[in-house]
């Protein structure tokens, strides 16, 4: 059987009517579809706005908590650092859900697959630039808050032992989190990531 002979036969296959798609029963024409898509876009924007309001309200509560009067400057600084981490998470979430992080389906497939592969990596190298300082700040904030509490119950001479224990505990927690996340990634996305890599190799192969 020759492929070129079958070419014109494939042309008999037609796209399903718009009414047969899952846009909703009212969509029968291109104009109806345009209206439906506009409605969906508006609903998505509304959802995004609601999310931003929610983040804002939680942010205000967080800042109010951070500003709560306390004589210990270490505790105050610790709270401010936690509040700034929250702000960082909110900004990252906003960037991710806004158009900046949207997938561009009009790119050449190789570039498209490479970006998908990057999204499915365990950790993108660029994420280290946010993750490492973020964890360091979180660790510092935790230390400031915990050290203040410790000072109330123990003598200052034991502070060094506390600091060492804290650092070891924090690093252990980070390592545990990393191992568990890696395990979860391998189970959830590992095979898919490998599949994407194979597809990239296939597209990149220059015969």
């Amino acid at each position: 059987m020759d492929i070129d002979e079958l070419k014109h036969e494939t042309k008999k296959i037609k796209a399903p009517d718009l009414g047969a798609l899952a846009f909703g029963g009212s969509v029968r024409t291109a104009d109806g579809l345009i209206d439906e898509l506009k409605r969906r876009d508006a609903a998505e924007k509304k959802k995004l706005r609601r999310m931003m309001v929610l983040y804002g309200v939680v942010g205000v509560v967080f800042v109010a908590f951070a500003l709560r009067g306390d004589s210990d400057p270490g505790v105050l600084l610790g709270r401010w650092l936690l509040a700034s981490i929250y702000a960082l998470v909110v900004v990252l979430a906003a960037v991710k859900s806004s158009g900046l992080a949207k997938v561009d389906y009009a790119e050449p497939p190789l570039a498209f697959l490479r970006k998908a592969e990057r999204r499915y990596r365990f950790i993108d190298p660029r994420e280290y630039f946010i993750m490492v300082p973020g964890l360091a700040v979180a660790g510092l904030a935790g230390w400031l808050l915990a050290a203040s509490g410790f000072d109330h119950i123990a003598h200052r001479t034991r502070a060094t032992a506390f600091d060492i224990l804290y650092v070891l505990g924090f690093l252990g927690l980070c390592a545990f989190g990393l191992i568990m996340t890696r395990k979860d990634w391998k189970r959830e996305k590992g095979a898919l990531h490998a599949r994407l890599k194979r597809a990239i190799e296939d597209f990149a192969r220059d015969d």
């Binding site: 059987m1 020759d2 492929i3 070129d4 079958l6 070419k7 036969e9 494939t10 042309k11 008999k12 296959i13 037609k14 796209a15 399903p16 718009l18 047969a20 798609l21 899952a22 846009f23 291109a30 104009d31 579809l33 345009i34 898509l37 876009d41 949207k102 997938v103 561009d104 389906y105 009009a106 790119e107 050449p108 497939p109 190789l110 570039a111 498209f112 697959l113 998908a116 095979a191 898919l192 599949r195 994407l196 597809a199 296939d202 597209f203 192969r205 220059d206 015969d207």
Partner: protein, 173 residues
């Protein structure tokens, strides 16, 4: 040209072609319909970044190809969640067509799609565009592959499909 007109024209002029590209990438009838629907949504959402003066057809085909590649990822996730098999059962590509759906126009076309389904993704993409009568240059423009690479892939894939359809190459993939 305003965006709504581009969208209307895309559906009217290229809808069938976009759907056939989905046929080459996705065997399950319902998933194929989903991919076609997603293609239309991505075309609509991509209109804001569409460069005026660029060819609508190439742009729309590229969106269809990427949507299909992305859909394979999504269907993999769905299958994984549902605990079903990763690789679809071998057989006729129109097996999953629900009752009442139009039958395949030709059994040989069904067989052709079944064989295309067994190709690696890049070859599948190239042959899906070739079946729409696109030149090697146009296919290269859409896929980002060089023209020479496209020609080689078409030549090799056609020979492979022919042997697969004649039952000479059952162990491919």
């Amino acid at each position: 040209m305003d965006n709504e007109k581009i969208f209307r024209d895309s559906i009217r002029d290229y809808g069938d072609r976009l759907y056939r590209i989905c046929c080459c990438h996705i065997r399950d009838a319902e998933e194929r319909k989903d991919a076609y629907q997603e293609t239309l949504v991505h075309i609509w959402r991509g209109l804001s970044s569409f460069r005026q003066g660029a060819q609508v057809s190439s742009w729309a085909y590229r969106i269809a190809v990427n949507t299909c590649l992305d859909h394979l990822r999504k269907s993999w996730r769905r299958k994984r969640i549902l605990g079903t098999r990763l690789v679809a059962d071998e057989g006729d590509p129109f097996d999953a067509v629900p009752a009442g759906a139009p039958p395949p126009p030709d059994e040989r076309v069904g067989l052709l799609y079944a064989c295309i389904d067994r190709l690696p993704p890049a070859d599948r993409t190239v042959i899906s565009l070739y079946l729409e009568d696109l030149s090697s240059e146009e296919i290269g423009g859409i896929t980002g592959l060089t023209e020479g690479n496209v020609r080689t892939r078409i030549h090799r894939t056609k020979a492979l499909l022919k042997s697969m359809m004649n039952g000479e190459n059952d162990g491919h993939r």
